[in-house]
Amino acid sequence: MDSTDQFHPAVSDLKRQLQNGEISRRDFMRYATLLGVSTLAAGQMIGLLLPRKTLAADIRRGGTLKVSQQVQKIDHPARFSWLMPSNSMRMVFEYMTLTGPDNITRPYLCESWSASDDLKTWTFNVRRGVAFNNGDTLTADDCIFTINQWLNKDVKSSLLGLVGSYLDPGGIEKVDDYRFKLHLKRAEIAIPEHFFQYTAQVLSHRTFEGDMKKRPHGTGPFVLDTYNEGEICIVKARSNYWQKGFDGKPLPYIDEIRFIDMGGELAPQIAALKSGEIDLIDASDNPGPQIMKAVNRDAHVQVMPVATATTRVMRMRVDMKPWDDNRVRMALKLCQNREKILALAYQGEGIRGQDFHVYPKHPEYCSKPFPRYQPQRARKLLAEAGYPNGIEVNLAVGSEWTDIVRYAEVLKQDAAPAGIRVNIQTMPTSQYWEKWTEVDLGVTPWTHRPLGTMVPNLAYIADADGKPVPWNETRWVDPEFSDLLATASGTLDINARRNIFCELEEIQMTRGPIGIAYWMNTWMCSNKRLQNVAAHPNLVFLFNEAWLKS
């Protein structure tokens, strides 16, 4: 008997690949769970015993956790400007899936799902017995309502660009109260991961009317008590949450979480963390080594590191001179002295990059050599392109991203021998976001995404009409790359995917529009009394089972 019979046919392929040593256990877990196999079942298939996270005897109930976080304006979760507001609200509202710190996506409010062989029809089963904090029961209607909110143009959600590219409102079908189907316009493997985007919190279709503060009816372990923008947000534990703790009583262990607004400056927040006035700084909107460097020798603070695909992309507009010539692009890429940039810009706390948007911990990553710093070759390429005397270029950077500013300074120095004179144009970060898709040469922050196909589908392809997609800041559209990427997005077999990615990476390295010098590590730094938490690559807070030592 093969226990994989009831699962997606690709699962048995995955199993075979695992047995032949072609994929790692981690890859198997990731893909099997994406295809709707529960983590437990997937773990059993490969004989993996999930470790108990903590000894139950240690766990203590009660206590108040104090977090420093900018308490921003919120109304609609699908409209969160960035991760930070989602972190306080994810205590109250929950997601259909959960992508853990290990990049594996697990069932959550949807207890299981399955995909058709062509990956165009997905069936989701909604967990039974989950109640909103106003007493209503969670049903498929709530999930459908939430997805439709994303697809509603008037809601102004960033998910419209992501999910809307493969799903229309007409493609959502309610099967029964606890099951719904999505009929996609094209094959897509990353749906379960999209359901854990920070904007994807599940709303009550009965009571939600556009402002989550007025009717904070979510399924989460806490209820919203106070929300004063610019001051404080308080959430308190509810008594009938659907998940149970070690003692059989409902989670959470913590009684109350207070998110205190101390402004955006790090210095006072670090001082407060050291003195124990707060337990944790929410750094999700601005992850960097500053906090870690300030507290890593502190006796009261624990530092939890994680390697992420968050990066700084040096991007060139290929529809503008001189970047329309690949030789010029290549020349600038050759001016990146990666070790030096990583050391000086990010204090060596990351992994070197290779000028394609896939990082070594993505399952699809195909190993490639690291390009070296070659100013003489760059100079030759420039001469071939018709610039024997070199060129002068303006590099736009946001001044509040200090690592980008340092990156730009190193690049300016190292590009000079190649004949590229870089003028660094610093501007307030908000102003950079005003024109991030418009500047001809700039450095744009891109956040971590768990699958290698996700960013290329957002940033390096064209839409159905041949126009570059909204986030394609470089306007680079390469037919061969787009076709291969489409194939890769619909390919489940990891080795086949990785083979395609070898080609994709090669294309982006040799004629692509971007330079990636480094991938950034990030850290969660908390008071040692906060237990049973781990750093997530996006620094999202997963505190259902967190508890506080007395």
Binding site: K66, S68, Q72, K73, I74, D75, R79, F80, S81, I144, F145, N148, L151, N152, K153, D154, K156, S158, L160, G161, P169, I172, K174, H205, R206, E209, G210, D211, K213, K214, T226, N228, E229, G230, E231, I232, I234, R258, I260, D261, M262, G263, E265, A267, P268, Q269, A271, A272, K274, S275, E277, I278, P428, S430, Q431, W433, E434, W436, P470, W471
Partner: protein
Amino acid sequence: MGKFIVRRLVLLLLTMLLVSMAVFLITEASPGNVARNVLGAFVTPEQEASFLAQLGLDKPVWQRYVHWLFGSDWKAARKIGLRLKRLVTEKGFVEWWAIDESGRPVRWKLQGDDLVAELRQPDGKTVRKIDNRRWESDPQGGWSFWGVDNANHAVRWQKGTDRKVWTFIMGSGWKQSSGGPEEYLPLKKGFIRGDPGESLRTGRPVGDSLYVRLRNSLVLAGIAFVIVMPLALFLGLLAGLKEGSIRDRVLSVGGMMFSVIPEFATGIFLILIVAVWWQLVPGATVFGEKAPWERPDMLILPVLTLTLIELGYVLRITRASMVEVMRSPYIRTAYLKGLPYWRIITKHAVRNALMAPITVIMLHVNWLMGGIVIVEVVFGYPGLGKYLLDSALYKDINALEAGAMILVIVAVGTQLVADIIYTIINPRIRYT
């Protein structure tokens, strides 16, 4: 005197009007975009346009200024044809309702092609009913209606146009319809009617946030003021008694030393030494919903920083003024008349020496209220200066305007107080 005060008050109003216009124009001209600040960098142009329209930011600048100053509800009431009412719910949310023909508060929303009225009952609950009789035909061949929505806008809804939208209707599921909101007018009462509007950055009524921030700043500035000013005046007078004495040298050099170190440096040094090494007091202010006086230990370092900065400055001005007075002929005359030393100082010298410092001190009240933003940022202190800084960076016009008005009142008010103090110190000064 009465006439003088009245004249000053008129001047105050005029200044406020001019400052409010200037702030509006400067904010308008400065770069930045509220939609991107609020929705994040990744909004599409359509989403941005829709957001700006909902906030009324698509209107011309003069119209927004008029709405800010006089409100927009009168204009909306004329369009809707019903009286409008602003009420605050039990949970503290501000809500606008139209008052229908029978005197009940009502709002509307569009469900598919149906207009649904929400009638507010006295207990705060709402009752819904279909209210399609309010549609009026419009010249383009469709139907339109001006009403109030549940997000405090007056909205013109339209149906029968070629626009297609998907809406979820309870009971019947998803439905495609042809209607939608076409034009927004955010409702507010206007500044002169006591409603400074809603912050674009936080979405909260500006008044609520500003009250807390103003209170915090008053506490910090007040404590610093009460400590610094008497101390600085006393030490300044002491130093100025005998120019060139050791006492004078120590006090003026010491004072100068602290006032030339920028406050961020002083603040960081104090945090490192007192809070991190010695661990005597907290190095940052974390109030949450508490008031500053409930955590006096957190006020120590900010107040100390302000004291060190301010002390030297006022001290040196007082000293200079005192030195000059002590050299004047009438002091010599008093000496020659054989008056006791302390009587000369207290009765003749000090009063005249205080004129200059009083002006400086009064100007500094203003600085203490809004200008101590650097100290606030270093300590994470939730004060007015930081609020205004954040608002300016966000182009949050309502918050900026209200804050500017407060600072104008403080500036003009302290000048008035200074003028009154002059007449007490120097009876020769008269105002008419």
